[in-house]
């Protein structure tokens, strides 16, 4: 049993590294692209939501301030959405692994989330660099941000395991996941603070699994004063619940998945 676990860990790490490196195979700048892509995204979103359709996070906020606000939100959201977006077809795309002897299928969603976490850590480093370069200054609490990212990765791993399992039986899920994630994006505090959504209904925030993570991440990166215990408890609870959900769904569906993939 112990050696099974050790073997699974080996497989998860190997797959995650391969996936992470594989993404930049054949790219011009290799892993440097990993840092460039978020900056391009950021530039686009900043242009759209501070110039084209201005969103005011607070009356006096300038464009740079909004850019960092957005950066913090995207950092967390992309870690989550990138992993879950691929989940519905995860097993069928990796059928050659699923059909291999003694392959722990759970390794696939875990590796996917781990590789997205590597990516997020590069974003995080890019964030720190951008803060320094722009002279905005760094809070010590930025060092806590990776912990929040780990919590988001756990959340993403749990949801992707569930979605990947159902995706084997429900083909439409891969079509639905796009609109669902788009809805999630606009109902989460990425472009704007949580208050804006809570104005419509506080339940939209309370029932949003990733809202507390995003608030917490933004607080550690930009405003340590606003780190709240309530958000911390909620984030840990959501991550734990998602992990449990993923684990139980996997245990129950696994025997059926082997026959289907």
């Amino acid at each position: 049993m112990g050696s099974d676990l050790a073997r699974s860990v080996e497989i998860v790490i190997t797959l995650a590294q391969r996936e992470f490196l594989g993404r930049y195979r054949g790219s011009l700048m290799g892993p440097a692209t990993a840092a460039l892509v978020p900056l391009l995204f950021l530039a686009t979103y900043t242009f759209v939501f501070s110039t084209l359709i201005p969103i005011h996070i607070r009356p006096e906020a300038g464009r740079t301030e909004y850019a960092f606000f957005l950066f913090a939100g995207l950092l967390g959201w992309n870690l989550f959405s990138e992993t879950t977006a691929r989940a519905p077809k995860l097993y069928s795309h990796s059928a050659h692994f699923v059909r291999r002897a003694l392959f722990p299928t759970l390794a696939l969603p875990l590796a996917g989330s781990l590789s997205a976490l590597y990516q997020a850590l590069i974003w995080w480093a890019a964030f720190l660099l951008a803060r320094l370069v722009s002279g905005s200054g760094l809070e010590t609490s930025v060092l806590l941000a990776p912990l929040v990212l780990v919590a988001i990765a756990v959340l993403a791993a749990g949801f992707s395991t569930l979605i990947a399992g159902i995706g084997v039986f429900v083909g439409d899920l891969s079509e639905l996941i796009g609109p669902l994630l788009a809805l999630g994006f606009f109902l989460s505090p990425v472009l704007y603070a949580a208050d804006r959504i809570a104005e419509i209904s506080p339940w939209l925030i309370r029932l949003n699994p990733i809202a507390s993570h995003l608030e917490l991440l933004r607080a550690t990166l930009l405003e340590p004063a606003s780190i709240s215990l309530a958000a911390l408890v909620a984030a840990v609870a959501w991550s734990g619940a998602a992990a449990l959900l993923g684990y139980v769904s996997h245990r129950r569906l696994r025997p059926l998945i082997a026959d289907r993939v």
Binding site: R7, I11, F97, R100, A101, V248, L256, D259
Partner: protein, 437 residues
């Protein structure tokens, strides 16, 4: 019989039923924790009970659909049992789907690491053994190139090398390795033998009785998911081939084994050949048409491979459409380059065929011992003509009607192995008193 540390595999009441197409309720029920209940569907295997002691080698034989691959997949943990259990002790390498999991964007070395980890080694171990994989695979420089530049044979060599270098204690093999060229195949077989000597347990699924007998010390013959016979490979294969011969409707390929062959020969009569596998080109005056051509072993089983020394039969069946006074039936043998290696016909071999009337059907069988040709593809072009050896008119000729492989067990340069070569030698040493060896 309870579990023992001396067993590599323990199978208890193992059964597999492939589910009928599952509706919404089934997976949703499973997700919500409702027991799935008795599986309805296509029963594929079992129930089976057996132990495989550590260090032994088991051959699983049976026809297509007899459940042998299902059993192998259950042992491999790819499928979950519907009932019962299968326990495996020790690190396992499954050579089932060798190319699976190879990523074309990564180099051979990088892929070897992942494949090794998937076969149970740790990353650290694979790091240390990577040179071993390079050497064993014989890929040389290409080992560091992206796999997308590999041929399919090279991919298999890489995968096989990575799997066996992970030092497995149990190897599952589905059909004997058609891995790469003859040289590499020999190397694989030697490696498997070496692992066997080192105490590795082997499960081999095969159609090939010769491989079962050569490699294994036990055999299980599966028939419709149940054990039809079990025990010594030679004995099991005899029974298996005997049954196959009785039930000649399901002919695939087989190689003769001892007394099964003898029995078969006693029982044999000439069965007309039915069907022409392949037609490249056809010509003739159509006074008679070839209806079938077959390459068979001495059991009468169609073969797709020929081995040196094997007794083969070429059967040509023709249908007469207009009267033929002096029929001649024969065939020519071509190598992979299309060159005619040999040819013969009924008259040439001293057999006078009777005159034919429209509607008659004639089958001619040529029995021969396959010469020690080097491995490669060969083809048979059958023909029916009317006349004498020197002067005849072709009624029907089909180019390359049957293509088959010949497999020479020893690696070989050139076209064939020189027969009865003996080597003697004499050495005259330069530095010391000269001696004759």
């Amino acid at each position: 019989m309870s579990g023992s540390a001396d067993n590599a595999i323990e199978v208890r009441g193992l059964a597999k039923t492939y589910p009928a197409d599952r509706g919404l309720g089934d997976w949703l029920g499973a997700l919500l924790g409702r027991p799935t209940g008795a599986s309805v569907g296509r029963p594929a295997l079992g129930p089976l009970d057996f132990d495989l002691p550590r260090g032994s080698s088991l051959a699983l034989v049976g026809r297509n659909g007899s459940g042998k691959t299902t059993l192998l997949r259950l042992i491999a943990g790819i499928l979950d049992p519907s009932r019962g259990s299968v326990r495996v002790h020790g690190q396992m390498a499954a050579l089932l789907d060798l190319g699976a999991g190879v990523d074309p964007e990564f180099s051979g070395a990088e892929n070897a690491r992942l494949l090794g980890v998937l076969s149970g080694a740790t990353r650290r171990q694979m790091g240390a053994r990577i040179e071993e994989v390079r050497e064993f695979s014989g890929l040389g420089e290409a080992f560091d190139d992206p796999v997308r530049s590999y041929s399919s044979g090279m991919v298999l060599r890489l995968a096989f090398s990575a799997a066996v270098t992970a030092a497995p204690q149990l190897i599952l093999i589905d059909e004997v390795l058609a891995v790469g060229d003859a040289f590499f195949q020999q190397r694989c077989l030697r490696k498997i033998r070496q692992l066997q000597r080192d105490g590795c347990t082997i499960v081999l699924v095969t159609h090939d009785p010769a491989a079962a007998i050569a490699f294994c010390d036990r055999a299980i013959w599966l028939e419709r998911g149940r054990v039809a016979a079990e025990g010594e490979p030679a004995k099991v294969m005899r029974e298996y081939l005997g049954a196959r011969f009785d039930d000649s409707a399901s002919l695939e390929s087989a190689v003769h084994v001892g007394s099964a062959a003898e029995r078969a020969i006693e029982n044999s009569r000439l069965v007309p050949a039915d069907g022409i596998p392949h037609i490249d080109h056809r010509y003739g005056d159509s006074k008679a048409r070839i209806e079938g051509v077959a390459l068979r072993d001495e059991l009468g089983v169609a073969v797709g491979e020929a081995r040196p020394g094997q007794n083969l039969r070429v059967v040509v069946t023709i249908r007469c459409l207009e009267p033929i006074a002096h029929p001649l039936v024969g065939f020519s043998l071509r190598d992979r380059l299309g060159e005619i290696i040999s040819a013969t016909n009924s008259l040439h071999e001293g057999t006078l065929l009777p005159a034919l009337e429209p509607g008659d059907r004639l089958s001619v069988e040529f029995s021969l011992v396959w010469p020690p040709f080097a491995s490669g593809a060969f083809s048979i072009s059958p023909a029916i003509a009317n006349g004498s050896l020197d002067d005849h008119r072709m009624s029907d000729w089909i180019d390359n009607a049957i293509v088959f492989e010949t497999i020479h067990p020893a690696a070989q340069y050139g076209r064939f192995r020189l027969p009865d070569v003996r080597v003697e030698m004499a050495v005259e040493r330069a530095n010391r008193d000269s001696t004759l060896a």
